[in-house]
């Protein structure tokens, strides 16, 4: 199953400083940036696809806003040389508010970036301090204003909640400050302690006492109801859009298992049945590309079972739910026949509903996402 490429992801593996909760691949030095950009340009050329119909490009990281505007320009022009871009292509750049100087937004906008995802994380200095971010609430505010001034009408914010000791009141204050900027998109992430991160180590060592389950759950529910009351669509577990047209075009492709190409260290690519990923190592990435080799670390071809599991795992995250017809096309077995017990359990707990041939988690059900996913997965394995 090889469909047309429509999405490109570009991983920029540099940060000013590693945040203690973050498990994305990046290095806290810029010394390899030039080499990286050269290698990236090579990778783009090597993976060229004139048959593509690219309608979204996403610069993620790390901190893509550490790229100079002319670097972004050369990357995008290399992309245009080797891929076919749709006229309304959405080009998103993730921005760390602590990295941008005056004029930055005007320039990148000129080169074609038309959507920004701002790594605000919080507009409360105390929380920013705990997360050891490199910017204050004030700096973030300035960056947001200058982005607007530069004409960006698609702004997304990343916010993190559920820090130790966080209450509904403090979180609501944070949210209210963000809402003052009328972002078109909001990603609200519950703080998670990912193995291997310093924050996880702190937790293990007992130096951090995490928010208890109940409070975390009620913050999650509050976020959803509060933002929906403010006109946002809760369209994925952690994502909210100011209207259907403001949902992240790019990220939705991941959840819908649509093919994408990823460039840069650690970036994943998917062609509908095979997924591969690059070495999470800038040096190795550079070395291999300098020798004209694609820096692929691993490739896996999904079995039918694995495709089904991913459809469930990702579908359950979204407000569109699992597309039952699409699922049955692959499973060649009735959805209800396979999952009647799970569906019954979920219905009994008001965790899910079936609307228009879609199995959709309710807000309550979203609290048990992993549980429901593994119930589905078991049925898939045991069939």
């Amino acid at each position: 199953m090889s469909e047309k490429n429509t999405a490109l992801y570009i991983h920029v593996p540099f940060c000013i400083k590693k945040c203690p909760y973050c498990d994305f691949y990046s290095v806290a030095t810029l010394s390899l940036k030039e080499r990286f950009v050269d290698a990236l340009l090579t990778e783009i050329s090597l993976r060229e696809d004139p048959q593509s119909a690219i309608d979204t490009i996403y610069f993620g990281g790390g901190t893509p806003s550490l790229l100079a505007p002319r670097e972004i320009e050369s990357i995008l022009s290399r992309v245009r040389d080797h891929f076919n871009l749709e006229t309304d292509c959405e080009i998103t750049l993730e921005v760390n508010p602590g990295t941008v100087g005056p004029g930055y937004f005007d320039e990148i906008r000129r080169f074609g970036v038309n959507r920004l995802n701002m790594g605000v994380q919080s507009l409360c200095d105390e929380k920013l301090g705990f997360m050891e971010r490199i910017h204050s609430a004030e700096t973030a505010g300035q960056a947001l204003r200058s982005a607007r001034r530069a004409g960006f009408d698609k702004l997304g914010f990343d916010l993190i909640f559920g820090l130790p000791g966080e209450t509904e009141t403090s979180w609501r204050k944070d949210l209210d400050r963000a809402l003052e900027f009328h972002p078109e998109h909001l990603s609200c992430y519950m703080l998670t302690y990912e193995p291997g991160t310093p924050m996880h180590n702190e937790l293990q060592a007992g130096r951090i006492s995490p928010l208890d389950d109940e409070s975390a759950a009620s913050l999650f529910k509050f976020t959803s109801t509060y933002l929906e009351a403010n006109g946002y669509l809760h369209y994925e577990i952690s994502n909210f859009a100011a209207g259907p047209g403001h949902r992240s075009r790019h990220n939705r492709k991941y959840w819908d298992l649509v093919p994408y190409l990823g460039f840069g260290p650690s970036a994943h690519s998917f062609d509908g049945s095979t997924r591969s990923w690059n070495h999470a190592d800038v040096r190795r990435y550079g070395d291999e590309l300098e020798q004209g080799v694609l820096p692929v670390a691993e490739t896996e071809t999904l079995t039918r079972e694995q495709v089904l599991i991913e459809m469930v795992m990702l579908g359950l995250r979204t407000s569109g739910g699992i597309d039952i017809k699409a699922f049955e096309k692959i499973s060649s077995q009735g959805f209800m026949e396979m999952f009647k017990e799970v569906a019954r359990e979920c219905a009994a707990r008001s965790w899910a509903m079936i609307v228009n041939h879609r199995f959709i988690l309710t807000l309550e059900g979203r609290l048990f996402l992993d549980t429901v996913t593994s119930l589905f997965a078991e049925k898939i394995w045991n069939r």
Binding site: Y9, H11, F24, G60, G162, S187, Y189, M190, T192, D213, E214, A216, A217, F220, I237, S238, N251, Y254, W255, Y260, G262, S266, A267, H268, F270, R275, W277, E300, Q306, I309, E310, M313, L314, R317, E345, R349, R366, L367, F368, L369, D370, T371, T373, S374, A377, E378, W381
Partner: protein, 601 residues
């Protein structure tokens, strides 16, 4: 090799655990040159994974060593390395039945210990020539004179004849060969008489069928012969006979006095019984050999496959394992919670563990074992007496007049600084101290009478931990004493799980119930609903714990780079799932069933 009967020697190496039997066997094997240096590894006869991991011998192993003695003659020395742990003494007794002699090893630093004595009695029962060997003389802590005194006084052997060796350095090892030639009598028996041979072990080979391990007492056997087994009457044509020389080494014929193996395309497991007599179908011998006495299991537990549809596989695995572990006894059993399974008897807790591990490893099964129980003697009000080892058969308390439980005499040898701690552990387990004696200036032997059931309940672990591994523990069964028993049941969400029931001393019931409920709470993963775990005697609930329902998930991001990783996490859970058992509406992991026996100390 054509060897005369007078040049054959059959002997076992016996000793207390860890006194160096397998290491001495190593040296003898190396001296004989049957294994190339590059193929050699330490404790080469301990070929099972469990033996190598635990560093102990579980199975007796035979190896036939060619030896040219100082008298210039060629000899064939059949050596059997035996296990030292008390749970495997059935292996020792069967090995001895094929021998004329035994080398009794004594560790020069430890001296005579409980299994030294137990094994010398076994050897005497078989009328064997016993040669004492003081091993580990290289150790700085070796006390050769003290050990020699013990050989004279405690063992009643002549220490003048004792060999002094170090199996580790090889010092004195050659003298073992010479002593075998000089002191162990050659086998008797007439090679021209009708075949009369004893099956002392066997194992299943997927390509060749059952391989029979046997000793020829009279006559001889060669490929092409039609043989029969006296107790099953089955007739087979011999395909191959041979010697054990680490590998199986085919020979033309096995004669009276020899120990070896036989392949005869045997697929019917029920045709082969340990202790059976083999003879020629056309020219049978008169009557069977004495065979072996039945094993005497002391610990009982039921075994169920985690996947109920694996019951036929379990059946087949037990049959095959029984070929290679004659001490295993089992019969059909069933449980409302776990379906069909087997009630098995073991010679001890280590034996139980080994059987479980072998079934899981060698036959790729996933098993649930119920709480081990001892055999209780119950006298009903109507005067009838019965022996019960299965909680599910425990009568209504109203019908019980008296109950008696088995006791053991335990001997614990420790450095004297641990005396207080050991005393404490024994008292906690209803032990009564009977006496103690100093073995050396700081090693002490303490004797206790303890209920066997207490030893089943985590006694070893506690002893090991309070003595930091320096305690040696041995026991013998010491008869029945009256006791006050209660049947402890466990309910999971109101449903009694029969496989968790235990028979316990009434004074301990509340503690046990609390502890078991706590363990179950830790073991049972959260599920859709709250799970109540209760311990009860009769209808009375005496302990309670709750497993709360599924935890709410902390939501995390999931983009292009996260998908594979998240899916793999799910796939990892799947592996864990296989070892879960649905009981009513609750999933109970395999590990929960034995966890109730582990105290939380």
């Amino acid at each position: 090799m054509n060897i005369k009967r007078k040049n054959i020697r059959n002997f076992s190496i016996i000793a207390h655990i860890d006194h160096g039997k397998s290491t001495l066997s190593d040296r003898l094997i190396q001296l004989s040159g049957i294994v190339a240096d590059r193929d050699f590894k330490d404790q080469i006869l301990d070929s099972m994974d469990i033996e190598r991991e635990r560093g102990i011998t579980i199975k007796s192993q035979t190896v036939s060593l060619p030896y040219t003695a100082e008298d210039g003659e060629e000899y064939l020395l059949n050596l059997i390395d035996t296990p030292g742990h008390v749970d495997f003494s059935y292996e020792v007794s069967r090995a001895l039945a094929s021998c004329e002699g035994a080398f009794l090893l004594v560790d020069a630093s430890q001296g005579v210990e409980a299994q030294t004595l137990a094994n010398i009695y076994l050897a005497m029962e078989h009328d064997l020539e016993i040669v004492p060997v003081v091993n580990k003389i290289d150790l700085p802590s070796a006390e050769i004179d003290w050990v020699k005194d013990q050989i004279d006084e405690d063992l009643g052997l002549d220490s003048e004849t004792a060999l002094l060796v170090s199996a580790k350095t090889g010092e004195g090892v050659a003298s073992v060969f010479e002593a075998a030639v000089a002191m162990v009598p050659p086998p008797e028996g007439d090679s021209d008489a009708p075949l009369k041979a004893l099956v002392f072990d066997s194992h299943y080979d997927p390509y060749r069928g059952i391989i029979v391990h046997f000793r020829v007492f009279e006559g001889s056997v060669a490929p092409g012969d039609k043989i029969t087994f006296l107790s099953s009457d089955a007739v087979y044509k011999v395909e191959e006979v041979g010697l054990f020389q680490i590998k199986r080494e085919p020979v033309k014929r096995l004669m009276a006095g020899q120990v070896g193996y036989m392949v005869a395309g045997i697929k019917m497991i029920s045709d082969i019984k340990c202790g059976d007599t083999v003879t020629l179908a056309g020219n049978p011998c008169e009557g069977p050999l004495a065979g072996f006495r039945d094993p005497n299991p002391v610990v009982f537990s039921s075994m169920y496959p985690v996947a109920s549809d694996e019951y036929p596989e379990l059946t087949e695995a037990l049959e095959k394992l029984k070929l290679n572990d004659a001490s295993l006894v089992y019969e059909k059993d069933s449980s409302a919670a776990l379906g069909f399974g087997y009630r098995c008897g073991f010679l001890g807790l280590l034996h139980l563990e080994v059987v479980q591990e072998r079934l899981e490893r060698e036959y790729d099964l996933s098993l649930i074992l119920t709480s081990p129980s001892v055999r209780y003697e119950i006298t009903r009000t109507d005067g009838t007496v019965e022996i019960i080892d299965n909680p599910s058969l425990y009568p209504d308390p109203g019908e019980i007049e008296t109950t008696r439980e088995p006791f053991i005499t335990a001997s614990i040898i420790v450095p004297d600084r641990y005396m207080g701690a050991v005393m404490q552990v024994c008292l906690e387990h209803r032990g009564v101290s009977t006496n103690y004696q100093y073995l050396t200036s700081n090693r002490i032997e303490m004797k206790f009478t303890l209920p066997l059931a207490e030893v089943v309940y985590e006694f070893y672990d506690r002893l090991k931990s309070v003595t930091q591994g320096y305690g040696s523990f041995d026991y013998e069964i010491a008869g029945y004493q009256e006791t006050d028993l209660a049947k402890l049941d466990f309910l999971v969400n109101g449903e009694r799980v029969d496989a968790l029931s235990q028979l316990v001393h009434r004074d301990k019931a509340v503690d046990r119930a609390r502890n078991a409920c706590k363990k179950l709470r830790e073991e049972i993963p959260r599920q859709m609903f709250k799970i109540a775990i209760q311990g009860a005697i009769g209808g009375k609930i005496i302990s309670r714990e709750t497993v709360s329902a599924y935890r709410k998930d902390v939501t995390a991001k999931c983009y292009g780079g996260d998908i594979s990783r998240k899916r793999k996490l799910l796939e990892k859970q799947k592996k864990g799932k296989k070892r879960m058992k649905m009981v009513g509406s609750v999933e109970i992991p395999q590990s929960a069933f034995l966890s109730v026996l582990k105290s939380s100390k």
